[in-house]
Subunit: 360 residues, 2 copies
């Protein structure tokens, strides 16, 4: 384990960043090999009552998030997850069951199981349906926070299919024109395969995550663009003010506000589960989420004149060709993963110590 | 026909507006009955070589857009559409044919036919597939501008299914970090049925349409939020400056930039058609677009405890309940449609005169 360099990146430079600035304490990072992380998390989860294969997969999904540069939904969130198991919010033995099927469309019940496992298995099932029908859709009710949304996009792309998925959340986003959180930030994922460096968009409907606001606040920096409202309803780029009011800004103002609503509606209607207004507003009680997983397998269709990979490369090249640096969604994850492969995964040392203490 | 009241609405009041401020000349509006509009457009299209049923449907789709308060992609655009027929960009006799099928996933070729007709027929086919498989997807290549995106969402919702569709466009949006337009504004539609007042989101990936910028410029007003960059790369709310640089802002800055890229990639890959960088950048030559139409029919799945309509109403009520006015996507269309039913459709009188002159 060695000290990692402090990483500071403004979202202003990226075409689409999954979670810019998610590191809470950039000066206290260590590097830990992926396998060591995965094995440690696995052992903690077994102690918490997870079946062996479930612990293995769940540990991997947490490790993947940190490996790909999204520690806020990886290791930094692991002990919160463990506490939600202990509190009975997450049932470590809850596994999804199929409630109804209609061709390529299925409804599953997550039985309050671990969110990452339920989500992974739902995307797995959507991929199976896509292999059979060209397109498949699994709607999942009664699940928990799936942690890093992008994981399920990478999963689809690794299987060679286009993946589209989203979740609703507790009410954490005031609709445009409102002062109180009435909708969720409802992360949306779109993934296109281009092995091994897929193109994966992972975007929540709030302009900045609360964690990101907190990072800027600690640094004493303003946001690169407005991120919310002050108490008098004026837009501001001061993270401390926004954290105090809780009035974060939807992506694209009225547009993201509407998209968040539609994602919630479709997820709840298709899954037969809860919409955001039915989800407990306290973060530590967030449960009963609704999610949608769509996979599309173009394998049965004839391709472009060029191969799909070449075609994706050509589109990215056109997107990026300019006089300034333009990054595509997924580029940050690819870079972080490469770095992790040689140097180890960047981990907050306090976070790591807390996890290790569980095994002593 | 009577003079309509001037309508002025700031997007700041709406949760998600389809096309705020699309009226070019708010002081010169007349009211014309829907049927008179539809019949007039139909007769013009027959003269341009459209088959009778095609002319009928195409006229309806243009009239619907104006009726629902989106004249920029309704009557205001009709003569541009006619000119694109005359220029050979749009083939009035081009009809979509199926190129490949793989279960619930199909690829169609639009043969440079009229965009609104190709899109309507593709959504129609996606709905058929959804009735059979629960979910259906049609990817359409070689089509033209579909005019008002929301039409195909209303179409799906009218059929009682959830509709998701999007199109790519010519390069008209600089990716975040770039100075030149390298991606499209790629409108995205999500629709949820709640007869007769469906919830329909219709959002382009640019924060403001060029037409909207122009309306603000003519009024000498600033935008309610930043809409683009000036020549030195500073963000600005001055519409004239943005129109001069062409550097419009993606929705949510880096986020909408990434979403636009993914929508383009998925549409081109699934349809086997063109991506944005392969589409002519001149607006009057825009052609060869790629589109995706997804329909999901939840009829085969058991419902919530409440009916779908009641459930949608409950979600909207929670979304809207606050101390300020919050509108949901589709509300503006519903209101405009009701008004049009009693008072006639609001039409720019110069636009209407130009269309009428075609028949003299």
């Amino acid at each position: 384990m060695q000290k990692a360099q402090s990483q500071r990146e403004l979202p202003g430079k990226a075409a689409s960043e999954e979670h810019p600035l998610t590191d809470h304490r950039v000066d206290a990072m260590i590097r830990v090999p992926y396998d060591e992380i995965q094995d440690t998390l696995r052992r903690v989860l077994v102690r918490e009552g997870f079946a062996d294969p479930d612990a293995d997969l769940c540990a991997r999904l947490f490790a993947d998030a940190s490996q790909d540069g999204v520690p806020s939904h990886g290791l930094n969130r692991f002990m919160t997850f463990v506490r939600s198991v202990r509190a009975g919010i997450v049932d470590p033995r809850g596994t999804p069951t199929r409630v109804a099927a209609f061709g390529a469309l299925e409804r599953w019940d997550g039985h309050s199981g671990p969110g990452p496992l339920n989500a992974h298995r739902s995307m797995e099932r959507a991929i199976e349906l896509a292999r059979e029908h060209g397109i498949g859709c699994v709607a999942l009710a009664n699940t928990n926070h799936w942690m890093r949304a992008g994981n399920y996009g990478w999963q689809a792309a690794d299987a060679g299919v286009i993946g589209i998925c989203w979740t609703n959340t507790l009410p954490n986003l005031p609709p445009w024109g409102a002062t109180r959180p009435r909708t969720g930030n409802n992360p949306l994922v779109l993934a296109v395969p281009r092995p091994p460096d897929h193109v994966v968009l992972d975007m929540a409907m709030s302009q900045f995550a609360y964690g990101t606001l907190d990072v800027y606040r600690r640094r004493g920096e303003r946001l690169p663009v407005p991120g919310g409202f002050d108490a008098s309803g004026e837009m501001t780029d001061d993270p401390a003010t926004i954290l105090a009011t809780g009035r974060v800004l939807p992506v694209g103002f009225w547009k993201g506000s509407g998209l968040a609503l539609l994602l919630d509606l479709v997820a709840a209607l298709l899954s037969g589960g809860r919409a955001t207004h039915q989800i407990p507003p306290e973060p530590h009680l967030e449960s009963g989420l609704s999610q949608v997983f769509i996979a599309i397998d173009p394998a049965g269709l004839p391709g472009q004149a060029t191969s799909p990979d070449e075609f994706v490369n050509a589109v990215l090249a056109a997107f990026q060709s300019d006089d300034e640096e333009v990054r595509y969604p997924g580029a940050r994850a690819v870079r972080a993963r490469r770095e992790a492969a040689t140097e180890g995964v960047a981990v907050d040392d306090d976070v790591w110590s807390e996890i290790l203490a569980e095994l002593q």
